[in-house]
Structure formats: structure tokens, C-alpha cells
Assembly symmetry: C2
Homo-oligomer: 590 residues x 2
């Protein structure tokens, strides 16, 4: 069973991601080190003791669609209530509406733990927090006072309605339409698919944020507006009024996250209300809906990245536990009587260490991204905003790929038992698979990274970041510590590969050769993530957490340097010379 | 829907794996090129039209355990009957017992297609064929005449009973016991788990081959004997007699291959018969059971490799089909109106080509292994037996890893739809995951490759094979064909990496440093598979299949050389220098 790795999380936040110096420099108000520890510890307890035990029943029962409503798994409504009452929904929300205004770093750490407990459970509240963020930034005073306090308290949940059957990655072609009414409201008509937690029995009301198009809107993404559409209308006194003309038509039968209802939502077909049309209120300005969504898109992507970290951590813990219990064969050098625990076999050690490295690398990258988000509100705001922008696609893609890879290794470590559902390793393998897809596929992240993030500050930002990474490599070399093995050399080689690929992409983009640059976008994204993994593990190994675990951190860092990040040379090659062969082979696909 | 790639399969068999020259040299009796084509074509038709349409219901319903019996999915018993009546069960069986005595190459090609149609269906007959092989080689005349004709015809199926709760990879510790009886029979007592097709309603009788230990047997694997234990005893006139004391206790709830019943089998608990004890007959000699199993173990491993190829092919076809239909966004250079098919986006092209390369590489390696099996019965028997031995672990591991990786990419190409079970991509992702585990985990394959296969002929065999690969690389360079890009250089570099890693392993083993060699076993196995992929794609590209597709083969070969096999340098490093860091980091795991 999962046990939240609170100490490892705290160490990574403070000594790798930057929370320590942010606290020291007074960048986080009156937040103290002790308070950080207390919050992490309690979030970890909740994830370990309350969420994780209900993961299996959530997977087995799944969300059930009965008579037009969604019945959540046994025990989940009470779990949600306990979670909201614990104040976890309000961690980062604005104090004006009942929030605690804590930094994003604490939020992502807590997110990681809840998702390790149950990804299907944690995704719902995550989306509500995103809706709170969008409303806080773009909502009118009326909308904010009516909805935010009850969303921040968790009394009501939110949902995000973007996707339509023909509009997934490309939202510009969406068809859901909104008509203006004289009273300032709108009527919405259309169908949305893949709406996570679009319907459930956790809360009395659900606040849908819906993207739709006005009749006179420009074509494409500049003609999309954002609307708030509650499941139940809210009376002036705050009590619930009549049902709005919005309902869940069906839920999907999915590979994983069975407890999370994935809804097809119908707006305005006349099932409820006097006349057809779901009543909605504009959020932000007309035709500026996508800009409103962009406010929260980056954070949503990082939140999905946390799911990757979460699954990887849960899978690693489970695999290590099994490998210590299960005996089979005699490992080389085994002196004990009988069979050795399989954790003594070198190949199993390799799998488990690979899982550890990918998990810890993904954690460090995502936390560093959250740190940049937090820092983007003070001095050097531009620098940190750029850093957050640059890190977001890497954090999302690297962490979610790690989730899939680590969960798959986790099944493998379990052998035949891994294929049996009751073991639980298979659930992680199934749950993990959606994370590289939703909130922008990892291919979309790579396009974003190469075409929008590398050019930030004319390439100056990414070059500065690479210089920081080179500095870490130099420090690892200068440490001259035997336990770091070849870390300095290997990391310097990785940074050089990253730099060469980056410069090639920047000049290729400058030459207007978009297709050539995009051909290497995914290998580049992977290359960046691997180098960051090596660098952040080295940074952690060079820091003293005061917990006597420096030796272990150095050993894991060395393993990563000598066994995991060596692919950077091949990835660099794919970026700088792979485009021609890719274009030439396109015809093979017919 | 899957369509058997009969032409690609025939090309690979004939021009890459060696079927063409074997036919030319008269090594395959009176088998003709036309007969090969006819068999492949009909096997492909059966897989496409009969098997594949029943895959989805098999997954959804699964095998069901009702009142102590297993009810197979709707339509499956009739499918099995049609399959057996088509003579597919008897392809490679000995003519003495009704078999067709065809080469193994045709068998694996047919296996690939049936597994692409439905892996859960194809695994059952595969195991029967393995049981036929074991009985043919080691069974007494009485057992052969009693059982083989009806197993070859498909009237009865077989099952293989090895695993026990504490004896998976390490069979030496199994506890199932066999007692001698005066009439020459034995009574078996024990429990076996993970028994594929241990119980079902396809056939009236099931012939279980069971490993067990005699009371006076030596400890470990030298004390294991093999027994034939029929579900129903067979009367002297061949009619079915009373039920034997063997039954299925339960079936597993698995991640994938839901249609395949995975049984816990109980032998000798007294449920059936006059006295407790399942009646069994010895196959081969007492305490030589594992040797009997080894006869077929290699072929079973290759058969599992075929499942990897099969899933990869099915996933690739499905993904290409979807990528041509689904439109989203505008790819760079897209001139059409509206959105482009996603197959025009470079990142999607990269995923699909990667899938193609891994599928085709895995196919070529497995077919080459089957070719070696076929050649091991004539002149140069020793050479080809060594080749089959060497290739088996690579074929099993590389192909099954490819199955998982390609199925995962297939889900990714489908985006959100990939996560919805009805799409079918998720089923392939689930089914694929068992193949790297059963019939010896891929980690076990790597141990076998390094410790038992590399030392064949004092390393002479592997060195000779590497020389052949270098020759292919030299030919690719000498072809001097622009469409092959850097294939010659890249492949030569890959072969050099393979050679360096091989020599390091051989000398490390010679020095008695077993643990150090094993630390790099899995990276080495992967390295070997990647180099073989590059070499076999080049061999295919340099051959003229007379089908006007040479250009496509060259383009795919170039893509593989410039985008897929570049990891060999990093893998070589892991083999030759990774052991120390692995050992140092073992402590991190607690």
C-alpha cells in the first residue's frame, strides 16, 4: 500500500526546486519551514490513510451511469467530503473567497500525493481548482461572489468543457453556440465530450465552465467565448433554483481511472427548463474565451504532470515492496539459505533504480516548474514567467511518459502477479496511460516547447537555463567525489547535446523551416527532460538535506548519469538530422 | 479492423529470414513457393475474417467461471472448431499422427496472424501445439497412439502445468508430488497456477502435461518429472472414461487476454474418482521432466515472441487507419482545405514510423529464429541449432517489448479515443503486457542470452553472427544509394557497439564476474535486438522482392538507421560500465 514519501517530497521542494531559498529570501510571505512540513505531513497522511485505501474499489466499481445520473464508487462521496472539510480545496485559492493563498509548490506536492492515492479521485478536485482559478482571474464580481466561496469551500465542484467530437487539440473548429439574451445572460446549445467530473453525486451543484461560439464570432480560436453554466441555477439568496438545461448523456468505458466519470454533456436540448438553451454567464470578454483558458492551461498541464509523478511513485513503492518479499532463484553472490528475494537479482535492481530515477527526475522537474509559477508574481516576474512557460511542456510530457514507463516496469517486476488485477500494479499501468494524452497530448507539448517556448526572449531564456545546467554539471565535476562516479562528465555531455539541439532548432526556426524543426520536437523534449533529470539529481546529491541520505542521493545520481541519461547523444542526432529521413519515409505509411 | 499483411510476411520470410534460399536449396522437401503463398494467404484470410471479428467480444465477456467449469466467450467454441477443421493445428505436427510436417517458419507466420486477430484466442492452440511437440519427442508409444492423433486433429486440446505459487521462474522448488502405482501409472497431488487454457468448453477432453516431483527425487530441477494427466481418462477403445481427479479451482481476473482462461488447477484432492490422486502417465524418464520441457521451451518462447509481433502489427494498422481518418489542426505545409489528417503532422509520422520499424524488426528477428529452427535438422545442424539458441531470447524479449511499446504508441496516436475501450487500441495495450512476462520474463531471457548463449562454441557462434551483420552493413554502405541515407555508417557503428559489448561480456564471464555481466544483461539484449532490426531492415531494402516496394523499404530502413538504432552507443556503455553504479545504488532501495 502507498505511503506518502513526505521527506523525499520536502527535500526536493526545498533543496532542488527552490522552496528553501524562496523561504529564506522572504518571497513567500510569512510561510515558514515548519508550516511547510506540517502541511506536507498532513496531506501525506490524508493521501495514505484516506485516499489510497479507496482506490481499488473505485477502479473495480467505477463511476456508474444510472437513470441519467452518475453514482460514484462506494465511500467516495464521504471521502470527498472529508477532503473538502480538510481545507485541501482551498490551498492556493485567494483569501478573499476563503482560500489560504499558499504557494503553488505546496499545491503540486499535495496533488502528487492525492494522485498517488487515487488518480481517479484526485482528478476531480484538480479540475475544480482550475475552474476557481479561471473565475478568480476573469469572472465578474457577480459571478465571483455567487460561486467562488462555495467552490473554494468544496461545497460545489466545477468542470471544464472544451472538447467536442471534432475539436480536440484544435479547439478552433468547435460548434457549441451561445446566443445573447436581453438580460445579459446567454443560452448555450451543443455537445461536449470527455468532460471529466461533468456529473457526479459528490456535490449538490456543479459549475460548468463551457467554451462556445457567439453567432457573430470570428472563425477559429479568436471567436471562442467562455461561459459559466451551473447545473442548478442559483437564486438571489444563494439557494439552489431550478435545474438548468444541461445534462450528462452518458459516460465512457475507459482503460483506466474508472472512478472518474468521463461525461458527454448536452447543453440546451430542452430537457430541462421552459425553453431550450442552457443559461450561461460570460466569463471575461466575448471572443476572449481561449485567453481565459490559457490562464489556467499551464497549471492544468502541470497538474497532469503531477499525475505522472504520482503514478510513478506509487508503482515504484509497490514494486520495491514486492521485490523484497518475493523470493525466486539465487542471485549471484547470494549467501542466504534458500531462494533470494528478487531484489537481489541485478536485473531487478536495474528496473527498480530506473523507476526511482524517472520518478525523482519527474518530481524535480514538476516542482521546479511550480517554483517558477510561484516566483512569477514578484521581482524578476518576466524571468520566472518564462521559466514556467519553458518548463511546463517538459514537466507535463516527461512526467507523464515516466508514469507510463515506470508503471509498465512495475508490472514487469511483479512477474505473472503483475498481470492479475488484484495485485494493483495493472491499475497503475492502466490509469497512467491517459496522462500523456489529455490536457494537450505530449506531441502537442513538444510543438509548444519548440515553436513557442524556445523563442522566448529570442532564445535568451533557454540559453540562460542551459548555462545554469552547465553550472550544475561543473559543480558535480568539481566535487570530485568518488560516489558520484562519472556524473560530471556524463552530465556535461548531456548539456552539450541539449545545447547543440537547441541551437539547431532555433536556427532552423529562424530560417522558417517549421516542418524540419517539428520533426524533431518529441526527441528534443525527451532530451531536455533527461538532462534536467540528471542535473536535478546532481543538485540534490550536492545539497545536504541534513537527513544523512547524501550517500544514497549521490549513488542514485551516479546511476542516472551512467545508465539513464546516455541517450541524449542519440536524441540530439534525431533532432539535428532526423527530419530528412522522416519526410522521406512518410510514403511508407500510404 | 486488422487485415493480415500477407505480402509483407511473405517478403520477410523469403528475402530476410532465409525461406527463399532454403526453398532454392531444397532444404524443405517438396515445399514450393506457390504452396507457401497459398498457406500464408489462407491463414491470413482465416485470421482476418474469422478470428479478428471475435476479438472484441472475447475481451468484453472474457472467459467465465461458472459452476466449476469455464464458459468461453460467445462464438469462440465454433471459431475453434473451424480453426481445427481448417487443419491449422496440424501444420508442423508429424505426418505419422496426422500432421502436415511443414516448416516452423510457416507456423510462426501463421501464429503471428492468428495472434493479431486475437491473442487471447491464439494462445490456447499454441500451447496445444507445444504439448504435441513434447509428446511426439518424449512420449511412449502408448501415449502417442492414444493422444496424439486427437490432439493433432484438434479434437482434444492440451495444457502445460509448470508454475506454482512459489515456483515461477525457479521451477526447482515446486511441490506438486507424484506417487508411483504398481500398474505403471502415477498419482499426482498438488496445485498449479497460471495455467492457460487449463479448463474450457472448446473440447471434450483436455490433456494436461504436469511437472511434479517423485518422493525419492533429488532436490532442485534435477528432481522434476513430466506427466500426462487427462481431464477424462481414456478407455482402451478410445472412448472417454471417468473424470480424472483434476479440476480447475478458479480463474484469474487479468489486465488483458480476457478470453484466455488462466486457471488454478487442483490435482488429487479427491473431488473425482475412487481415491484421491490424479492419474498420470510418465512422459520421458523419471527426474528428466525439465529436459522434456526444454525441448519445447525455446519454441514456446518464440511463440510468445510472435504475440509481440502480432500485437505490434495490429496496433500499427489501427493507428495508421485512424491517423488517416482523423483531422485536426493544420500540419506544416498542409495545402488542403480545412484541417489536415493527423497523419500529416510530423510528430504523428514519427510515431507511426517508429511503430513500423519496431514491428518489422521484431518480425524479421522472430522469423530468422524460426528459420534457424528449421535448418537445425539437416546439414550444419550444430550451426543452426546454435543460431536458434542465440536468437530465441532476443526474439522473445525484443518482440514482446516491441508489442508493449507499439501498443502504447498506438493508444497515443488515437488521442482521447485511445483511452476509450470501444476503440480497441486499449485492448492491444492490455493484452500486450503479459508477453514480456510469461514463458520466462524478459529479464530471464537476458540472463539466458548472456550466460548460456554467448558462450556457445566458446563465443565463436556469436562472433560469426556479428561478422554476418557487419557484412550487411558493408553492403548497405557499398550500395551507395541516396535513399539509404546514412544506413551504412549508422549500422556499422551499431555493429561495432554490439561487438564491443559482446567481447566485454565474454571476457567478464571468463573472469568469473557473473554479477557484473548480469548487471548489463538487459541493455545488452536490447542492443542486440536494435542492431538486428537495423541489419534485417537493410537486408530487406537491399533485396528485390519484385513487388515495386524497394523504395519504401529503403526509406523505412533509413528512418530506422537515423532515428531508432542510435541508442546502441548508450546501451553499450551501460553494459561495459554500468555495473559498478548499479551495485553502488542497490542500497537506495533499502
Amino acid at each position: 500500500m502507498y505511503k506518502a514519501p513526505v521527506e523525499e517530497i520536502a527535500f526536493t521542494l526545498k533543496h532542488v526546486a527552490g522552496l528553501g531559498s524562496a523561504l529564506d529570501n522572504g518571497r513567500l510571505g510569512n510561510l515558514t519551514d515548519d508550516l511547510v512540513d506540517a502541511i506536507l505531513s498532513e496531506a501525506g497522511r490524508f493521501a495514505t490513510e484516506e485516499v489510497a485505501p479507496l482506490a481499488e474499489i473505485g477502479d473495480r466499481q467505477g463511476a456508474r451511469f444510472v437513470d441519467g445520473a452518475v453514482k460514484m464508487p462506494d465511500g467516495w462521496p464521504a471521502l470527498y467530503k472529508a477532503w473538502a472539510e480538510g481545507g485541501w480545496n482551498s490551498l492556493t485559492a485567494a483569501p478573499d473567497f476563503g482560500g489560504q493563498g499558499l504557494p503553488h509548490m505546496l499545491h503540486v506536492a499535495a496533488l502528487e500525493m492525492w494522485n498517488s492515492g487515487s488518480m481517479a479521485f484526485a482528478i476531480g478536485p484538480t479540475l475544480t481548482i482550475g475552474a476557481i482559478e479561471a473565475l478568480t482571474t476573469h469572472g465578474s464580481e457577480h459571478l465571483k461572489t455567487t460561486y467562488l466561496p462555495r467552490m473554494v469551500s468544496g461545497e460545489w465542484m466545477g468542470s471544464m468543457n472544451l472538447t467536442e467530437p471534432h475539436a480536440g487539440s484544435d479547439l478552433g473548429v468547435m460548434k457549441t453556440r451561445a446566443e445573447r439574451r436581453d438580460d445579459g445572460t446567454y443560452r448555450l446549445f451543443g455537445q461536449k465530450i470527455f468532460i471529466t467530473y461533468g456529473e457526479h453525486d459528490f456535490t449538490d451543484n456543479i459549475v460548468h465552465l463551457v467554451l462556445a461560439r457567439l453567432p457573430d464570432a470570428p472563425a477559429g480560436t479568436r471567436g471562442i467565448s467562455l461561459f459559466l453554466v451551473p447545473k442548478f441555477l442559483v437564486n438571489a439568496d444563494g439557494s439552489l433554483g431550478p435545474r438548468n438545461d444541461a445534462h450528462c448523456h452518458s459516460i465512457e468505458h475507459k482503460l483506466g481511472i474508472h472512478g472518474s466519470p468521463t461525461c458527454t454533456m448536452i447543453y440546451g436540448d430542452g430537457r430541462f427548463g421552459d425553453e431550450p438553451g442552457a443559461i450561461g454567464w460570460l466569463v471575461g470578454e466575448e471572443n476572449r474565451g481561449l485567453a481565459c483558458m490559457f490562464t489556467m492551461m499551464n497549471n492544468a498541464r502541470l497538474a497532469v504532470g503531477m499525475q505522472g509523478v504520482a503514478i510513478a511513485e506509487a508503482a515504484t513503492q509497490k514494486a520495491i515492496g514486492y521485490a523484497k518479499e518475493r523470493t525466486q532463484g539465487k542471485a549471484p553472490g547470494w549467501q542466504g539459505s534458500g531462494m533470494s528475494p528478487i531484489i537481489e537479482h541485478p536485473d531487478v535492481v536495474r528496473m527498480l533504480l530506473t523507476m526511482k530515477v524517472l520518478t525523482q527526475g519527474a518530481r524535480a522537474i514538476t516542482y521546479a516548474c511550480a517554483h517558477a509559477v510561484d516566483m512569477a508574481h514578484g521581482e524578476d516576474a518576466r524571468h520566472w514567467a518564462d521559466r514556467a512557460s519553458l518548463l511546463t511542456p517538459i514537466a507535463k510530457s516527461f512526467a507523464t511518459d515516466a508514469g507510463v514507463d515506470v508503471a509498465s516496469l512495475g508490472v514487469q517486476v511483479h512477474g505473472g502477479m503483475g498481470f492479475i488485477e488484484e495485485t494493483g500494479a495493472a491499475r497503475l499501468y492502466r490509469d497512467a496511460r491517459i496522462a500523456p494524452i489529455y490536457e494537450g497530448t505530449n506531441g502537442i507539448q513538444a510543438i509548444d516547447l519548440v515553436t513557442r517556448k524556445l523563442p522566448l526572449s529570442d532564445g535568451g531564456h533557454v540559453r540562460g537555463f542551459i548555462a545554469e545546467l552547465r553550472d550544475i554539471a561543473a559543480k558535480a565535476r568539481a566535487a570530485n567525489a568518488p560516489e558520484l562516479g562519472e556524473t560530471g562528465d556524463r552530465l556535461e555531455a548531456g548539456v552539450a547535446d541539449l545545447e547543440a539541439a537547441t541551437e539547431w532548432l532555433l536556427s532552423t526556426l529562424a530560417d522558417g523551416k517549421q516542418a524540419e524543426a517539428l520533426a524533431g520536437a518529441t526527441p528534443y523534449q525527451r532530451l531536455f527532460g533527461l538532462v534536467l533529470t540528471g542535473a536535478y539529481l546532481a543538485k540534490g546529491a550536492l545539497a545536504d538535506g541534513g537527513d544523512g541520505r547524501s550517500g544514497e542521493r549521490a549513488a542514485l545520481c551516479r546511476f542516472a548519469a551512467e545508465n539513464i541519461i546516455g541517450e541524449t547523444a542519440a536524441l540530439r542526432d534525431r533532432v539535428t538530422s532526423g527530419a530528412a529521413s522522416l519526410a522521406a519515409a512518410r510514403a511508407v505509411l500510404g
